[in-house]
């Protein structure tokens, strides 16, 4: 049953992509896509429910557990909101003449293909196939980043595809080394299978595994946007169409972190925690530190959000590095919270830049006066992302910082808090400038589509709702996912 459901979850986006290309008529394409994404989201949630009910599921090349379940929730939810948001956003782009109407089917097909590649990464059992999936996510999303085919979009796409391809080749090198370690250990199990590697962990050559992990951390770290390999990220996230920016930032970075966690489990079972822990803490803190100056002096609203993504990936990496059950719970929760809140912010940035006709922070004034609903939601989403209680991002950040102090690393915890204060200052300074005050005359003419507002409202309801009341199933999922990482990594 679960196997069939997995095939359905993977087949739906592919079928929707093919149907979009065949349908041609804009109205039909939109209906097909929203239906397809809703079903995909449903299938992903059903898989998660199945895992919660029956425990981990392994059959043929499929492996699902609480960790993949958590990520399936992220990707499923974001695929739905991104498609919903696209409906009105892309219509507006067509109306403004930035996108030719004939290109819409291609846009939706690429979007669905992108969703498919991410779902594939989350459902396969094998580190080799996972690599194939991660590489495919880059390729599917490159054409989305380049979608406008104007000069900045081409520049962003070229940097994105080159940097991520080189990074991912390093990950392949690490994966080959892991396979070599597995073969040298005389392990007859399936190549690069998670279960076989876990079973052989006592016999793997520690030196080879350590070498492999260095390349894997650099490789998938590039994909996840960890500093100093993050250089492609602000360009790609700011130049893509806004729904795609939301998916790139919320879903794709999370998928890269997921693959990193899977590899981490294999590596720490052989090496113990210390080595991997040092790497994760270092890259994590560095990512937050690198993002701060760029967020304090930023002129482009989408680049501001992109650097915020670098910061949040850093926070998750830091949480994984601390490695106590509380920190891992925080890291898992933070992946989910950041994904939903940040995608909502990118959607909002899309609405704002369409209505004001600019992405320049300095030219956006009086959001609340000009468009009260969007302005209020933007303020709420920014408050969420910087970690204001009672919104959910606060709780995951708090868990990670508290865990750092509880684990006897007060210096690192204090350093993170200090950096987060810098982020808070940068984000709030620009947000108050944009939200309050009088709107310039003639700004924000026109109307925002209902679908776009609905997508944002849905995300914000999730952000506020899970902050105020964490449903038992979600708490159970997070606890199980954290326990699983803890078991795999041996608590570092």
């Amino acid at each position: 049953m679960m196997y069939e459901l997995t095939l359905i979850a993977l087949g739906l986006p592919l079928a929707t992509a093919a149907a979009s290309l065949a349908a041609r008529r804009a109205g039909l394409v939109k209906v097909l896509n929203i239906a397809g994404s809703l079903l995909t989201c449903g299938a992903a949630f059903a898989l998660t429910a199945g895992v919660l009910r029956d425990g981990p599921f392994a059959y043929k090349w499929v492996y699902l557990d609480a960790l993949s379940g958590l990520l399936l929730v992220v990707v499923g939810l974001l695929t739905f909101t991104a498609t919903l948001f696209s409906l009105s956003y892309m219509d507006e782009e067509v109306a403004e003449g930035r996108v030719r109407p004939g290109l819409l089917p291609r846009y939706y097909a690429l979007l669905q293909l992108f969703a498919f590649t991410m779902l594939a990464v989350l459902t396969v059992e094998n580190l080799g196939l996972m690599w194939v999936g991660v590489e495919a996510t880059t390729l599917a999303s490159t054409l989305l980043v380049a979608f406008y085919f104007n000069r900045p979009a081409l520049e962003a796409a070229w940097k994105y595809v080159m940097v991520c391809n080189v990074g991912i080749l390093f990950a392949l090198l690490g994966t080959i080394l892991l396979y070599y370690a597995q073969l040298s250990a005389g392990d007859g199990g399936a190549a690069l299978s998670l279960a076989a590697l876990a079973g052989a962990s006592g016999r793997l050559d520690p030196f080879l595994v350590k070498l492999a992990f260095v390349f894997i951390l650099i490789g998938y770290g590039t994909k996840a946007g960890l500093a100093p390999m993050h250089t492609w990220l602000p360009d790609a996230h700011s130049q893509a169409p806004s729904p795609v920016s939301g998916l790139l930032s919320g879903a794709l970075l999370s998928c890269a972190l997921y693959v990193l966690i899977r590899n981490l489990g294999v590596v720490t079972a052989v090496l113990g925690g210390g080595f991997a822990q040092a790497g994760l803490l270092l890259f994590g803190l560095l990512s937050v530190a690198v993002a701060v100056p760029f967020m304090l002096v930023q002129h482009d609203i989408k680049r501001l959000l992109a650097y915020s993504s670098v910061e949040h990936v850093g926070i998750v990496s830091f949480g994984l590095g601390i490695g106590t059950p509380l920190a891992l719970y925080g890291a898992a929760f933070h992946i989910l919270n950041h994904a939903v809140a940040k995608s909502a912010l990118f959607y909002l940035a899309g609405i704002i830049s369409q209505r004001y006709g600019t992405k320049q922070v300095m030219r956006i004034r009086g959001l609340l006066a000009a468009m009260p609903a969007t302005g209020a939601m933007f303020l709420t989403a920014v408050l969420a992302i910087v970690g204001t209680p009672p919104l959910n991002v606060f709780f995951s950040k708090f868990a990670i910082v508290a865990a750092a102090f509880a684990a006897g690393r007060p210096v690192l915890g204090a350093l993170l808090l200090l950096l987060l204060a810098g982020v808070f200052a940068g984000m709030m300074y620009y947000t108050t400038r944009m939200v309050f005050g009088a709107a310039p005359a003639g700004a924000a003419a026109g109307r925002t589509g209902a679908c776009g507002l609905a997508a944002v409202a849905l995300s914000l309801l999730w952000v506020a709702g899970t902050g105020l009341y964490l449903p038992p199933w979600l708490d159970g999922l997070l606890t199980k996912a954290a326990a699983q990482i803890f078991a795999a990594t041996g608590g570092l």
Partner: protein, 208 residues
């Protein structure tokens, strides 16, 4: 096997010398053909049929479709050549020699037990030289050639340490490489149309 390794190093070395795009693609074609031959030889020695399939795929994808696509693109770029690399051809060649020495040194230290030492060292050298090309060359085509060189190196590494990854993963990798080159050729084509050049050093508007 040793002969093939020397041939591969020679192609990588030649890549550091050329500034003509079409020549670079032809050298890449030869390099991929040698990798395919190495794969077939290794398969014959090990008596494994799946390696012949991989060799055939290498010929079709990396010595066939990819050079074909690149050459079609190059024909549109008649006046493009690598005019002003970050470091010149002589320095790059020197660095490539350094990469070969480094590769042998790394193998001595990191993988003393490995059987086919020359093949592994060649593989690592190819990866390093490919990376070198990507970093120091400004032409989009040259960067793509560097990327495929890196990929060829990794492929050879897999071949010489583990007799290649399982076929299903290998198939996925081939597919990814093919799509990657298609995507990059599309982008390079658009670069030519929007910027009238495929020299990527003009791509520096986005920062901060």
């Amino acid at each position: 096997m040793e002969t093939l390794a020397i041939l591969l190093l020679a192609t990588a070395f030649l890549l550091t010398r050329t500034s003509r795009l079409a020549t670079a693609v032809h050298i890449l074609l030869a390099q991929s053909a040698v990798v395919a031959a190495a794969c077939a030889v290794a398969g014959w020695q090990a008596g494994e049929t799946h390696m012949f399939v991989a060799a055939l795929l290498t010929v079709v994808v990396k010595a066939g479709l990819i050079p074909y696509a690149l050459l079609r693109l190059v024909r549109l770029l008649r006046r493009e050549r690598e005019v002003n690399p970050v470091i010149g051809a002589n320095m790059t060649s020197l660095a490539a020699v350094g990469a070969m020495v480094l590769a042998y040194g790394l193998i001595e230290h990191a993988l003393p037990a490995v059987i086919s030492r020359d093949a592994v060292a060649t593989a690592v050298a190819l990866v390093l030289i490919g990376l070198l090309l990507i970093i120091t060359r400004r032409q989009a085509i040259m960067q793509i050639v560097g990327l495929i060189t890196m990929e060829n190196g990794l492929y050879l590494l897999g071949l010489s340490t583990t007799r290649g990854l399982p076929l299903i993963i290998e198939l996925g990798i081939f597919f990814d490489v093919l799509v990657a080159v298609t995507v990059m050729v599309i982008l390079a084509f658009r670069l030519k149309r929007s910027f009238q050049t495929t020299d990527t050093s003009i791509l520096k508007r986005l920062k901060g």
